[in-house]
């Protein structure tokens, strides 16, 4: 079974932590196990939480409306940013298959630099959508 990408970092970190606990402290890797359990519970909670209903509830109350909107915009913009990172990463990997040479480093720098104008363009379009929905000035 393939490990989901989001879990790779967590599992690697837990493995290192467990190794330190076993080799240095000479005890069962309880901290690593606890960390994995908390991460799994957090993910489960995230997956099961009725976000749409919670947002609807928050939006229907004048006290929480602005805060909910703020977090929704933040979530949307984070998704835009991640999408741009992934699409750039794939494009860069296809364009620069060989590693560590000068052109590889240069292409990495250019790809990273182009992330900002690309994200800015998406942000502009998002702002334009808000303007048309009469939600920005």
């Amino acid at each position: 079974m393939r490990l989901p990408a989001a879990w790779v970092g967590i599992v690697v970190f837990a493995a290192v932590l467990a190794a330190v606990e076993i080799l240095v402290s000479r005890r069962a890797p309880l901290i690593a196990l606890r960390m994995l359990a908390v991460a799994a519970a957090g993910l489960l909670l995230f997956r099961l939480a009725p976000w749409a209903r919670m947002a609807e509830w928050g939006l229907s109350r004048s006290r929480t409306r602005k805060t909910v909107l703020y977090f929704l915009f933040l979530a949307h913009f984070s998704r835009i940013f991640l999408e741009e990172i992934f699409s750039l990463y794939h494009a860069w990997k296809l364009a620069a298959p060989s590693r560590w040479n000068r052109s590889w480093r240069r292409s990495l720098a250019c790809a990273t630099a182009s992330l900002f104008p690309r994200t800015l363009r998406r942000a502009e379009r998002f702002y334009a959508a808000l303007l048309l929905k009469e939600m920005a000035h």
């Binding site: 749409a52 947002a55 998002f126 334009a128």
Partner: protein
Amino acid sequence: MNEAVRVEHLEFAYGPRHVLRGVSFAIAQGESVGLAGPNGAGKSTLLWCLMGLLKPAAGQVGIRGRLGAVFQNPEDQLFMPSILLDVMLPLENRGLPRAEARERALSALAAVGLERIADRPAHELSLGEQKRAALATALALQPDVLLLDEPTSELDPRSCRLLAGHLNRLACARLISSHHLEFLAGTATRLLILDEGRVVADGPTRDLLADEDLLLRHGLK
């Protein structure tokens, strides 16, 4: 004619690069007009000027009534946890009571055939469904003028047909920018061809699309 849109001698430049050079045209109420042209002709810039998102260097834009728009990338317009909330948001923002906003949003979603998936977020939908959801957000505001930027880009033929059907049922004035000439033939009675920032042809869609020389000259064939 009763004009919904009037554009006069519109000029726009990105720095030293002139994108629109004296564009003039008018659209009657309820008329559906196609906007075709090669890449870089200035179609999107013209739409953004009409939306008031870009300030022209010269000329005038007049829109009578309410304006709605559908962007090329619908994801930029849809950001709520469900498309129903996306459609409701501007209505509530305008001060409509929640129940009424919900009803109007559901009927706008029903008009584009999405009422059954109203509670799903945009990122879980196909691109065709996203475009229709973006159209519903515009329709819910009951616009008098609707602008569509490349509505068929990346859509399969079935989604194009569905979208064309929905557009043809609308009573508002429409300006549809597209490279997809077949789509324009089915949705626009009049066609504007823009090239190098100028309107180079303006006439009945059928007549202009039958003119092979004109299409070849302006990079449409």
